[in-house]
Protein backbone atom coordinates (compact mmCIF):
# COMPACT_ATOMS: atom_id res chain seq x y z
CA UNK A 1 0.00 0.00 0.00
CA UNK A 2 2.85 2.37 0.87
CA UNK A 3 4.35 1.68 -2.50
CA UNK A 4 1.09 2.54 -4.23
CA UNK A 5 1.02 5.84 -2.37
CA UNK A 6 4.64 6.54 -3.27
CA UNK A 7 4.05 5.93 -6.96
CA UNK A 8 0.83 7.95 -6.87
CA UNK A 9 2.77 10.93 -5.52
CA UNK A 10 5.51 10.50 -8.13
CA UNK A 11 2.92 10.30 -10.91
CA UNK A 12 1.00 13.30 -9.58
CA UNK A 13 4.27 15.24 -9.53
CA UNK A 14 5.03 14.24 -13.13
CA UNK A 15 1.51 15.18 -14.24
CA UNK A 16 1.65 18.59 -12.58
CA UNK A 17 5.10 19.24 -14.05
CA UNK A 18 3.88 18.27 -17.50
CA UNK A 19 0.82 20.51 -17.34
CA UNK A 20 2.99 23.38 -16.11
CA UNK A 21 5.43 22.84 -18.97
CA UNK A 22 2.54 22.75 -21.43
CA UNK A 23 1.18 26.02 -20.06
CA UNK A 24 4.70 27.47 -20.12
CA UNK A 25 5.00 26.42 -23.76
CA UNK A 26 2.09 28.70 -24.61
CA UNK A 27 4.06 31.64 -23.18
CA UNK A 28 7.32 30.52 -24.83
CA UNK A 29 5.60 30.13 -28.18
CA UNK A 30 3.98 33.55 -28.04
CA UNK A 31 7.24 35.24 -27.04
CA UNK A 32 9.38 33.42 -29.62
CA UNK A 33 6.86 33.97 -32.41
CA UNK A 34 6.79 37.66 -31.62
CA UNK A 35 10.60 37.78 -31.71
CA UNK A 36 10.59 36.21 -35.17
CA UNK A 37 7.81 38.48 -36.36
CA UNK A 38 9.33 41.75 -35.00
CA UNK A 39 6.65 42.18 -32.34
CA UNK A 40 6.81 42.44 -28.55
CA UNK A 41 4.42 39.64 -27.61
CA UNK A 42 2.79 39.37 -24.17
CA UNK A 43 4.84 41.57 -21.78
CA UNK A 44 2.25 43.27 -19.57
CA UNK A 45 1.19 40.74 -16.93
CA UNK A 46 3.94 40.27 -14.40
CA UNK A 47 7.72 40.41 -15.07
CA UNK A 48 8.38 39.82 -18.82
CA UNK A 49 4.71 38.87 -19.13
CA UNK A 50 5.39 35.62 -17.28
CA UNK A 51 2.07 35.74 -15.44
CA UNK A 52 0.25 35.81 -18.78
CA UNK A 53 -0.06 32.02 -18.44
CA UNK A 54 -1.82 32.36 -15.09
CA UNK A 55 -4.15 34.97 -16.56
CA UNK A 56 -4.93 32.63 -19.46
CA UNK A 57 -5.73 29.75 -17.10
CA UNK A 58 -8.08 31.93 -15.01
CA UNK A 59 -9.74 33.12 -18.19
CA UNK A 60 -10.25 29.60 -19.53
CA UNK A 61 -11.78 28.44 -16.24
CA UNK A 62 -14.23 31.34 -16.03
CA UNK A 63 -15.30 31.38 -19.68
CA UNK A 64 -18.76 30.11 -20.50
CA UNK A 65 -18.28 26.48 -21.48
CA UNK A 66 -21.13 25.74 -23.76
CA UNK A 67 -22.30 22.33 -24.91
CA UNK A 68 -24.35 22.83 -28.07
CA UNK A 69 -27.92 21.60 -27.76
CA UNK A 70 -27.59 19.89 -31.12
CA UNK A 71 -24.39 18.08 -30.15
CA UNK A 72 -23.95 14.52 -28.94
CA UNK A 73 -23.34 15.47 -25.30
CA UNK A 74 -21.37 12.49 -23.97
CA UNK A 75 -19.06 12.21 -26.97
CA UNK A 76 -18.65 15.98 -27.05
CA UNK A 77 -17.26 16.02 -23.51
CA UNK A 78 -15.24 12.84 -24.02
CA UNK A 79 -13.32 14.01 -27.11
CA UNK A 80 -11.06 16.66 -25.49
CA UNK A 81 -10.49 14.39 -22.49
CA UNK A 82 -9.22 11.61 -24.78
CA UNK A 83 -6.50 13.71 -26.40
CA UNK A 84 -5.26 15.05 -23.06
CA UNK A 85 -5.26 11.67 -21.30
CA UNK A 86 -3.57 9.75 -24.13
CA UNK A 87 -0.76 12.28 -24.41
CA UNK A 88 -0.29 12.51 -20.64
CA UNK A 89 -0.08 8.74 -20.34
CA UNK A 90 2.47 8.46 -23.13
CA UNK A 91 4.90 10.42 -20.96
CA UNK A 92 5.02 7.43 -18.61
CA UNK A 93 7.59 5.73 -20.85
CA UNK A 94 9.89 8.73 -21.32
CA UNK A 95 13.17 8.39 -19.34
CA UNK A 96 13.85 11.90 -18.07
CA UNK A 97 17.11 10.78 -16.45
CA UNK A 98 18.58 7.39 -15.39
CA UNK A 99 16.60 7.56 -12.12
CA UNK A 100 13.42 9.34 -13.20
CA UNK A 101 11.40 6.95 -15.34
CA UNK A 102 7.77 6.44 -14.41
CA UNK A 103 7.61 2.98 -15.96
CA UNK A 104 10.43 1.37 -17.94
CA UNK A 105 8.16 -0.86 -20.04
CA UNK A 106 9.80 -3.52 -22.17
CA UNK A 107 7.28 -2.56 -24.88
CA UNK A 108 7.81 1.19 -24.47
CA UNK A 109 7.77 2.15 -28.14
CA UNK A 110 4.73 -0.03 -28.90
CA UNK A 111 2.94 1.66 -26.01
CA UNK A 112 3.67 5.04 -27.56
CA UNK A 113 2.54 3.94 -31.05
CA UNK A 114 -0.70 2.52 -29.67
CA UNK A 115 -1.57 5.61 -27.67
CA UNK A 116 -0.67 7.98 -30.48
CA UNK A 117 -3.17 6.20 -32.72
CA UNK A 118 -5.84 6.59 -30.01
CA UNK A 119 -5.36 10.34 -30.37
CA UNK A 120 -7.09 10.18 -33.77
CA UNK A 121 -10.34 9.24 -31.98
CA UNK A 122 -10.33 12.59 -30.23
CA UNK A 123 -10.44 14.48 -33.52
CA UNK A 124 -13.01 12.26 -35.17
CA UNK A 125 -15.36 12.07 -32.18
CA UNK A 126 -15.04 15.79 -31.43
CA UNK A 127 -15.72 16.81 -34.99
CA UNK A 128 -18.56 14.36 -35.42
CA UNK A 129 -20.27 15.18 -32.10
CA UNK A 130 -20.12 18.94 -32.75
CA UNK A 131 -22.83 18.58 -35.37
CA UNK A 132 -21.29 21.27 -37.53
CA UNK A 133 -20.26 21.01 -41.19
CA UNK A 134 -16.84 22.58 -40.69
CA UNK A 135 -16.12 20.33 -37.74
CA UNK A 136 -17.03 17.21 -39.66
CA UNK A 137 -14.79 18.17 -42.58
CA UNK A 138 -11.96 18.99 -40.18
CA UNK A 139 -12.42 15.67 -38.38
CA UNK A 140 -12.35 13.72 -41.63
CA UNK A 141 -9.19 15.44 -42.78
CA UNK A 142 -7.65 14.93 -39.38
CA UNK A 143 -8.47 11.24 -39.37
CA UNK A 144 -6.99 10.61 -42.82
CA UNK A 145 -3.90 12.66 -41.97
CA UNK A 146 -3.25 10.97 -38.64
CA UNK A 147 -3.86 7.48 -40.04
CA UNK A 148 -1.47 8.10 -42.94
CA UNK A 149 1.33 9.57 -40.88
CA UNK A 150 1.00 6.90 -38.22
CA UNK A 151 2.25 4.34 -40.76
CA UNK A 152 5.41 6.33 -41.48
CA UNK A 153 5.92 7.04 -37.81
CA UNK A 154 5.94 3.32 -37.00
CA UNK A 155 8.21 2.54 -39.95
CA UNK A 156 10.69 5.33 -39.17
CA UNK A 157 11.21 4.02 -35.64
CA UNK A 158 12.04 0.54 -36.94
CA UNK A 159 15.64 1.50 -37.68
CA UNK A 160 16.20 2.52 -34.06
CA UNK A 161 14.59 -0.69 -32.82
CA UNK A 162 16.80 -2.77 -35.12
CA UNK A 163 19.98 -1.07 -33.91
CA UNK A 164 19.00 -1.50 -30.27
CA UNK A 165 17.16 -4.81 -30.36
CA UNK A 166 14.69 -3.60 -27.75
CA UNK A 167 11.53 -1.50 -27.41
CA UNK A 168 12.53 -0.23 -23.97
CA UNK A 169 13.29 3.49 -23.97
CA UNK A 170 16.05 3.10 -21.35
CA UNK A 171 17.80 0.49 -23.50
CA UNK A 172 17.51 2.76 -26.52
CA UNK A 173 19.17 5.65 -24.68
CA UNK A 174 21.92 3.42 -23.32
CA UNK A 175 22.60 2.04 -26.81
CA UNK A 176 23.50 5.59 -27.88
CA UNK A 177 26.51 5.85 -25.53
CA UNK A 178 28.98 5.81 -28.45
CA UNK A 179 27.07 7.60 -31.17
CA UNK A 180 23.66 9.26 -31.17
CA UNK A 181 21.21 7.54 -33.50
CA UNK A 182 20.64 10.74 -35.45
CA UNK A 183 23.84 10.00 -37.40
CA UNK A 184 23.21 6.41 -38.53
CA UNK A 185 19.42 6.95 -38.64
CA UNK A 186 19.21 10.41 -40.20
CA UNK A 187 16.43 9.44 -42.63
CA UNK A 188 14.48 7.89 -39.75
CA UNK A 189 14.91 11.06 -37.70
CA UNK A 190 13.61 13.33 -40.47
CA UNK A 191 10.62 11.07 -41.19
CA UNK A 192 9.81 10.75 -37.50
CA UNK A 193 9.94 14.52 -36.96
CA UNK A 194 7.64 15.16 -39.95
CA UNK A 195 5.25 12.38 -38.91
CA UNK A 196 5.27 13.60 -35.31
CA UNK A 197 4.35 17.12 -36.38
CA UNK A 198 1.56 15.72 -38.55
CA UNK A 199 0.30 13.53 -35.68
CA UNK A 200 0.13 16.51 -33.33
CA UNK A 201 -1.50 18.53 -36.19
CA UNK A 202 0.78 21.50 -35.67
CA UNK A 203 1.48 24.15 -38.26
CA UNK A 204 2.52 23.43 -41.04
CA UNK A 205 0.32 20.33 -40.78
CA UNK A 206 -2.67 21.94 -39.04
CA UNK A 207 -5.00 21.18 -41.93
CA UNK A 208 -7.74 19.68 -39.66
CA UNK A 209 -7.92 23.09 -37.92
CA UNK A 210 -6.87 25.52 -40.68
CA UNK A 211 -8.65 28.60 -39.33
CA UNK A 212 -8.67 30.39 -42.69
CA UNK A 213 -10.87 27.80 -44.40
CA UNK A 214 -12.47 25.62 -41.71
CA UNK A 215 -12.64 28.14 -38.83
CA UNK A 216 -10.75 25.89 -36.37
CA UNK A 217 -12.15 22.72 -37.94
CA UNK A 218 -12.84 19.93 -35.49
CA UNK A 219 -13.00 22.25 -32.45
CA UNK A 220 -14.94 25.22 -33.81
CA UNK A 221 -17.91 24.48 -31.50
CA UNK A 222 -15.72 24.07 -28.40
CA UNK A 223 -15.38 26.79 -25.80
CA UNK A 224 -14.11 27.35 -22.28
CA UNK A 225 -12.36 24.48 -20.52
CA UNK A 226 -12.95 21.97 -23.30
CA UNK A 227 -11.30 24.23 -25.82
CA UNK A 228 -8.53 24.72 -23.29
CA UNK A 229 -8.01 20.96 -23.20
CA UNK A 230 -7.54 20.76 -26.97
CA UNK A 231 -5.18 23.70 -26.68
CA UNK A 232 -3.10 22.26 -23.84
CA UNK A 233 -3.21 18.88 -25.61
CA UNK A 234 -1.53 20.46 -28.62
CA UNK A 235 1.26 21.92 -26.50
CA UNK A 236 1.69 18.64 -24.63
CA UNK A 237 1.95 16.93 -28.01
CA UNK A 238 4.80 19.27 -28.99
CA UNK A 239 6.56 18.47 -25.73
CA UNK A 240 5.98 14.75 -26.29
CA UNK A 241 7.38 14.82 -29.83
CA UNK A 242 10.40 16.81 -28.65
CA UNK A 243 10.97 14.39 -25.76
CA UNK A 244 10.68 11.37 -28.07
CA UNK A 245 13.04 12.81 -30.69
CA UNK A 246 15.51 13.56 -27.90
CA UNK A 247 15.22 10.07 -26.43
CA UNK A 248 15.27 8.12 -29.70
CA UNK A 249 17.71 10.08 -31.82
CA UNK A 250 19.63 12.55 -29.65
CA UNK A 251 20.81 10.40 -26.78
CA UNK A 252 18.19 11.34 -24.17
CA UNK A 253 19.93 12.25 -20.94
CA UNK A 254 23.42 11.53 -22.29
CA UNK A 255 25.89 14.39 -22.45
CA UNK A 256 29.21 15.64 -21.02
CA UNK A 257 29.56 15.29 -17.28
CA UNK A 258 29.54 18.95 -16.20
CA UNK A 259 25.74 19.02 -16.20
CA UNK A 260 23.41 16.47 -14.56
CA UNK A 261 21.52 14.10 -16.92
CA UNK A 262 18.14 15.76 -16.29
CA UNK A 263 19.57 19.13 -17.37
CA UNK A 264 20.85 17.64 -20.64
CA UNK A 265 17.46 16.11 -21.32
CA UNK A 266 15.65 19.39 -20.59
CA UNK A 267 18.01 21.45 -22.75
CA UNK A 268 17.55 19.10 -25.72
CA UNK A 269 13.77 18.98 -25.33
CA UNK A 270 13.45 22.76 -25.18
CA UNK A 271 15.76 23.13 -28.18
CA UNK A 272 13.33 20.98 -30.16
CA UNK A 273 10.31 22.86 -28.85
CA UNK A 274 11.92 26.10 -30.05
CA UNK A 275 12.65 24.45 -33.40
CA UNK A 276 9.01 23.40 -33.80
CA UNK A 277 7.87 26.93 -32.96
CA UNK A 278 10.32 28.29 -35.53
CA UNK A 279 8.73 25.95 -38.09
CA UNK A 280 5.40 27.56 -37.28
CA UNK A 281 6.86 31.00 -37.88
CA UNK A 282 8.63 29.99 -41.09
CA UNK A 283 6.47 27.59 -43.07
CA UNK A 284 3.13 28.01 -44.84
CA UNK A 285 0.43 25.34 -44.74
CA UNK A 286 0.47 22.86 -47.65
CA UNK A 287 -2.65 21.87 -49.55
CA UNK A 288 -4.40 18.76 -48.28
CA UNK A 289 -3.70 16.58 -51.35
CA UNK A 290 -0.06 17.72 -51.25
CA UNK A 291 0.18 16.58 -47.64
CA UNK A 292 -1.18 13.09 -48.27
CA UNK A 293 0.69 12.75 -51.58
CA UNK A 294 3.98 13.72 -49.91
CA UNK A 295 3.39 11.17 -47.17
CA UNK A 296 2.40 8.20 -49.26
CA UNK A 297 4.60 8.79 -52.31
CA UNK A 298 7.82 9.99 -50.68
CA UNK A 299 7.93 9.17 -46.96
CA UNK A 300 6.62 5.60 -47.25
CA UNK A 301 9.15 4.35 -49.87
CA UNK A 302 11.89 6.28 -48.07
CA UNK A 303 11.15 4.68 -44.70
CA UNK A 304 11.02 1.17 -46.24
CA UNK A 305 14.38 1.74 -47.95
CA UNK A 306 15.75 3.01 -44.63
CA UNK A 307 14.71 -0.23 -42.89
CA UNK A 308 16.17 -2.51 -45.56
CA UNK A 309 19.48 -0.59 -45.80
CA UNK A 310 19.82 -0.54 -42.00
CA UNK A 311 19.17 -4.28 -41.87
CA UNK A 312 21.70 -5.05 -44.60
CA UNK A 313 24.40 -2.93 -42.95
CA UNK A 314 23.78 -4.41 -39.50
CA UNK A 315 23.89 -7.98 -40.82
CA UNK A 316 27.01 -7.51 -42.92
CA UNK A 317 28.99 -6.20 -39.93
Amino acid sequence: MNETLYYSLVIAGVLITLLTIAAGNIYIERRLLSVWQDRLGPNRVGPFGLLQVVADIIKIFTKEDWIPRFADRVVFVLAPAIILITILITFAIIPFSPDIVVADLNIGLLFFLGLSSLGAYSLVLGGWASNNKYSLLGAMRGAAQMLSYEVFMGLSLMGVVMMTGSFSMVDIVEAQKNVWFVIPQFAGFVIFLIAGLAESHRIPFDIPESESELIAGFHSEYSGMKFGMFFVGEYLAITLISALVTTLFFGGWLGPDFLPPLAWFTIKVFAFIAFIILLRAALPRPRYDQLLGFGWKILLPLSLINILVTGAILLSK
Partner: protein
Amino acid sequence: MISEFGIILLYFILGFVFVGIALVAAYFIRPSHPNAIKNSTYECGEIPIGEPWVRFNVRFYVIALIFLLFDVEVVFLLPWAIVFKGLGWFAFIEMIIFVVILLVGFAYVWGKGDLDWERPKPYIAKLSDLVIGKKKQ
Protein backbone atom coordinates in the same frame (compact mmCIF):
# COMPACT_ATOMS: atom_id res chain seq x y z
CA MET B 1 5.65 -4.95 -5.31
CA ILE B 2 3.94 -3.01 -8.06
CA SER B 3 4.82 -4.15 -11.57
CA GLU B 4 5.59 -1.72 -14.39
CA PHE B 5 2.12 -2.25 -15.80
CA GLY B 6 0.61 -1.57 -12.38
CA ILE B 7 2.31 1.82 -12.44
CA ILE B 8 0.85 2.44 -15.89
CA LEU B 9 -2.62 1.59 -14.55
CA LEU B 10 -2.07 4.00 -11.68
CA TYR B 11 -0.97 6.61 -14.20
CA PHE B 12 -4.15 5.98 -16.24
CA ILE B 13 -6.34 6.47 -13.18
CA LEU B 14 -4.53 9.64 -12.07
CA GLY B 15 -4.66 11.03 -15.60
CA PHE B 16 -8.43 10.53 -15.63
CA VAL B 17 -8.71 12.15 -12.18
CA PHE B 18 -6.70 15.20 -13.28
CA VAL B 19 -8.79 15.73 -16.39
CA GLY B 20 -11.96 15.06 -14.43
CA ILE B 21 -11.03 17.65 -11.79
CA ALA B 22 -10.40 20.24 -14.50
CA LEU B 23 -13.76 19.56 -16.13
CA VAL B 24 -15.75 19.50 -12.87
CA ALA B 25 -14.05 22.63 -11.50
CA ALA B 26 -14.78 24.49 -14.73
CA TYR B 27 -18.38 23.26 -14.53
CA PHE B 28 -18.86 24.96 -11.17
CA ILE B 29 -16.94 28.16 -11.95
CA ARG B 30 -18.20 28.98 -15.42
CA PRO B 31 -21.21 31.20 -16.13
CA SER B 32 -24.07 29.92 -18.26
CA HIS B 33 -26.31 32.34 -20.14
CA PRO B 34 -27.60 30.58 -23.23
CA ASN B 35 -29.70 32.40 -25.78
CA ALA B 36 -31.23 31.52 -29.14
CA ILE B 37 -28.38 32.86 -31.25
CA LYS B 38 -25.71 31.21 -29.12
CA ASN B 39 -27.56 27.93 -29.48
CA SER B 40 -27.41 27.93 -33.27
CA THR B 41 -24.70 26.14 -35.20
CA TYR B 42 -21.68 28.34 -35.82
CA GLU B 43 -21.33 29.08 -39.52
CA CYS B 44 -19.76 32.55 -39.52
CA GLY B 45 -23.09 34.27 -38.91
CA GLU B 46 -25.02 32.55 -41.68
CA ILE B 47 -28.13 30.57 -40.85
CA PRO B 48 -27.12 26.95 -41.46
CA ILE B 49 -28.87 25.20 -44.32
CA GLY B 50 -29.43 21.45 -44.41
CA GLU B 51 -28.04 18.58 -42.37
CA PRO B 52 -24.73 19.20 -40.58
CA TRP B 53 -23.67 15.62 -41.25
CA VAL B 54 -22.83 16.29 -44.87
CA ARG B 55 -21.55 13.79 -47.40
CA PHE B 56 -17.78 13.81 -47.64
CA ASN B 57 -15.31 12.67 -50.24
CA VAL B 58 -15.03 8.89 -50.59
CA ARG B 59 -11.26 9.41 -50.90
CA PHE B 60 -11.01 9.50 -47.07
CA TYR B 61 -12.39 5.98 -46.99
CA VAL B 62 -9.84 4.72 -49.52
CA ILE B 63 -7.02 6.26 -47.48
CA ALA B 64 -8.31 4.41 -44.41
CA LEU B 65 -8.29 1.12 -46.37
CA ILE B 66 -4.71 1.63 -47.56
CA PHE B 67 -3.71 2.54 -44.00
CA LEU B 68 -5.11 -0.76 -42.75
CA LEU B 69 -2.91 -2.75 -45.15
CA PHE B 70 0.26 -0.89 -44.29
CA ASP B 71 -0.36 -0.81 -40.57
CA VAL B 72 -0.59 -4.61 -40.61
CA GLU B 73 2.79 -4.53 -42.31
CA VAL B 74 4.18 -2.40 -39.49
CA VAL B 75 2.80 -4.86 -36.95
CA PHE B 76 4.58 -7.70 -38.78
CA LEU B 77 7.85 -5.76 -39.03
CA LEU B 78 8.01 -4.88 -35.32
CA PRO B 79 8.77 -8.35 -33.89
CA TRP B 80 11.14 -9.01 -36.78
CA ALA B 81 13.07 -5.82 -36.04
CA ILE B 82 13.72 -7.06 -32.48
CA VAL B 83 15.12 -10.50 -33.34
CA PHE B 84 16.50 -10.14 -36.88
CA LYS B 85 20.12 -10.08 -35.73
CA GLY B 86 19.76 -13.62 -34.41
CA LEU B 87 17.88 -14.86 -37.46
CA GLY B 88 20.45 -13.63 -39.97
CA TRP B 89 20.29 -13.31 -43.74
CA PHE B 90 17.51 -15.88 -44.21
CA ALA B 91 14.95 -13.79 -42.31
CA PHE B 92 16.25 -10.63 -43.92
CA ILE B 93 15.66 -11.98 -47.43
CA GLU B 94 12.22 -13.20 -46.42
CA MET B 95 11.42 -9.71 -45.17
CA ILE B 96 12.60 -8.25 -48.49
CA ILE B 97 10.20 -10.62 -50.30
CA PHE B 98 7.36 -9.51 -47.99
CA VAL B 99 8.10 -5.83 -48.55
CA VAL B 100 8.33 -6.34 -52.32
CA ILE B 101 4.91 -8.03 -52.38
CA LEU B 102 3.50 -5.07 -50.46
CA LEU B 103 5.19 -2.62 -52.78
CA VAL B 104 3.53 -4.33 -55.76
CA GLY B 105 0.18 -3.60 -54.11
CA PHE B 106 1.35 -0.08 -53.35
CA ALA B 107 2.32 0.43 -56.99
CA TYR B 108 -1.14 -0.83 -58.01
CA VAL B 109 -2.84 1.70 -55.69
CA TRP B 110 -0.57 4.45 -56.95
CA GLY B 111 -1.12 3.50 -60.62
CA LYS B 112 -4.89 3.44 -60.12
CA GLY B 113 -4.66 7.05 -58.96
CA ASP B 114 -6.00 6.42 -55.46
CA LEU B 115 -3.18 8.39 -53.87
CA ASP B 116 -4.09 11.50 -55.88
CA TRP B 117 -6.95 13.62 -54.65
CA GLU B 118 -7.83 14.60 -58.23
CA ARG B 119 -8.43 11.21 -59.72
CA PRO B 120 -8.03 10.58 -63.45
CA LYS B 121 -11.45 10.21 -65.10
CA PRO B 122 -12.47 6.55 -65.16
CA TYR B 123 -13.36 5.01 -68.51
CA ILE B 124 -17.06 4.16 -68.43
CA ALA B 125 -17.98 1.32 -70.76
CA LYS B 126 -20.60 2.11 -73.37
CA LEU B 127 -23.09 -0.29 -74.90
CA SER B 128 -21.38 0.04 -78.27
CA ASP B 129 -18.21 -1.50 -76.79
CA LEU B 130 -20.03 -4.77 -76.41
CA VAL B 131 -20.95 -5.06 -80.09
CA ILE B 132 -18.96 -7.95 -81.53
CA GLY B 133 -16.38 -7.05 -84.10
CA LYS B 134 -15.96 -3.50 -82.93
CA LYS B 135 -12.73 -2.68 -81.13
CA LYS B 136 -12.59 -0.82 -77.83
CA GLN B 137 -11.71 2.83 -78.21
